[in-house]
């Protein structure tokens, strides 16, 4: 993971804050690498390799910057199922970054290969 630069805040984040409530977070899938969000604010990297988002589910604290990096020889995209975020086409080694401010669950997929799905869970560290 890249622990360097502070997360670049992006415009218009707050309007999504009410979209999803935090109450169902306890149901986060077991494959989530951490039931509790990692260090608040620490950037998170999701790799795209072999037509798979890895880790498939990440749990982060509000304000966390998540970066997807495409390691495949085929382009992919990162598209929120609720259209909250959408990357451009990511060719090999291209990356896309989004900062998650509002608690909630953010399922996403690759619009070119829709069998590729993942989820970002945003959760207050206090629980």
């Amino acid at each position: 993971m890249d622990a360097s630069s502070p997360s670049p805040r992006r415009r218009g984040r707050c309007r999504f804050a009410v979209a999803v409530t935090a109450q169902i977070l306890a149901l986060a899938p077991m494959e989530a690498p951490a039931a509790e969000p990692a260090d608040a604010g620490k950037p998170v990297v999701i790799r795209i390799d072999n037509f798979t988002f890895g880790p498939e589910t990440v749990t982060v604290a509000p304000g966390t910057t998540v970066t997807w990096i495409n390691g495949d020889d085929i382009p992919h995209t990162v598209v929120s199922q609720s259209r909250i975020f959408r990357s451009k086409t990511l060719d090999t080694d291209d990356r896309y970054t989004f900062t998650f401010d509002a608690p909630g669950e953010y399922p996403y997929f690759c619009s070119l290969h829709p069998h590729m799905t993942g989820k970002v869970v945003v959760k207050d560290p206090a629980g």
Partner: protein, 317 residues
């Protein structure tokens, strides 16, 4: 052209046929013959051998040229497309036209489309296209494709036409894909399809072409179309239906009732057999073997009781 030593014949004297044989794997096409309404694909090699038996009507399928692709699986996708076109130009029996089943470009860039168009034009044949997901990657998600190839089409680029007594239907199943799902036709296109075939006699041979297989080849890799069965149900009454697809960069065929399914090779790079690799990504094959995995297909309509003849031809054998 590629090294002809891969062919079975005398490598020191590559005849025209030998040279064409060589291309049979690496990016040429399928020659399709419709016989008695049923399709048969015939490798270009066999088509070339049958010089005395002219087919009444034939057309060619080419797919997944991925112009712009330059990764290790094939650093020169433009070059192998050019080889495919050379093979097409060498056919003794000129096909009526070419169907391109999508992924013309790799990243939908204008330059990629320009290069593909310039090379494909050298066939001197009319061309019909349907988009692959790689052709809709412009910022406006397909506007560039429609501006270039969509004249006279509906919706995201679907259309039909009649040639040689066959009803041809080009479908688009790479738009508005749903998370966790497969290829998608959508209600609007299915409604159009229903109306499109409503007036046709059931004896009319039908050829349907789309990028992603309309039948479920391997859902774990997304190789299928969510609502493909609904399209096929609309075609069930026809005595001869041929479904031509691309996307999976390898030949897979099956026959179900009156429906013959066929996927074509790519002219750019091979992909692994379903489930045989960690992912469907480009398959790097040993140097010298690439052209055995690329190819074209030609289809011939034979009136009578024979099925459509489909000839798959690699760029190299």
């Amino acid at each position: 052209m590629h090294d002809p030593t891969d062919s079975d014949g005398d490598p020191s004297r590559p005849s025209r046929r030998g040279a064409l044989e060589c291309m049979a794997w690496a990016g040429t096409g399928l020659l399709w013959t419709l016989g008695g309404g049923l399709p048969r694909a015939v490798g270009l090699e066999r088509a070339l051998a049958a010089e005395a038996a002219p087919a009444p009507f034939s057309f060619l399928q080419i797919s997944d040229s991925h112009v712009g692709f330059s990764k290790p699986a094939n650093p020169d996708a433009l070059g192998t497309l050019r080889e495919a076109v050379e093979r097409i130009r060498a056919l003794p029996q000129k096909p009526a036209f070419i169907i391109h089943t999508g992924d013309i470009s790799h990243l939908s860039k204008d330059g990629e489309f320009d290069d593909a168009d310039q090379i494909l034009r050298e066939t001197g044949l009319p061309l019909f296209f349907v988009p692959g997901e790689h052709d809709l990657l412009d910022d406006e998600q397909g506007r560039a494709y429609l501006a270039r190839y969509g004249k006279g089409s509906r919706g995201a680029g679907w259309y039909s036409f009649d040639q040689g007594g066959i009803h041809f239907i080009g479908l688009v199943n790479v738009v508005d894909l749903k998370a966790g799902g497969l290829g998608n036709l959508g209600a609007e296109q299915l409604d159009w399809l229903e109306a499109d075939v409503a007036g046709l006699a059931s004896s009319t041979p039908v050829v349907v072409f789309a990028h992603i297989p309309l039948w479920t080849v391997y859902p774990e890799w997304g190789w299928g179309t969510q609502d493909g069965a609904r399209a096929l149900a609309l075609l069930r009454r026809f005595g001869s239906v041929t479904v031509l697809n691309g996307h999976i960069h390898q030949i897979i065929q099956k026959v179900e009732g009156n429906v013959a399914f066929h996927t074509a090779r790519s002219t750019a790079f091979p992909q692994p057999a379903p489930g045989s690799a960690p992912s469907p990504g480009p398959m790097k094959v040993p140097a010298g073997e690439l052209r055995r995995h690329l190819g074209i297909a030609s289809v011939t309509l034979v009136r009578g009781s024979e099925p459509l003849a489909i000839i798959d031809t690699p760029l190299a054998g």
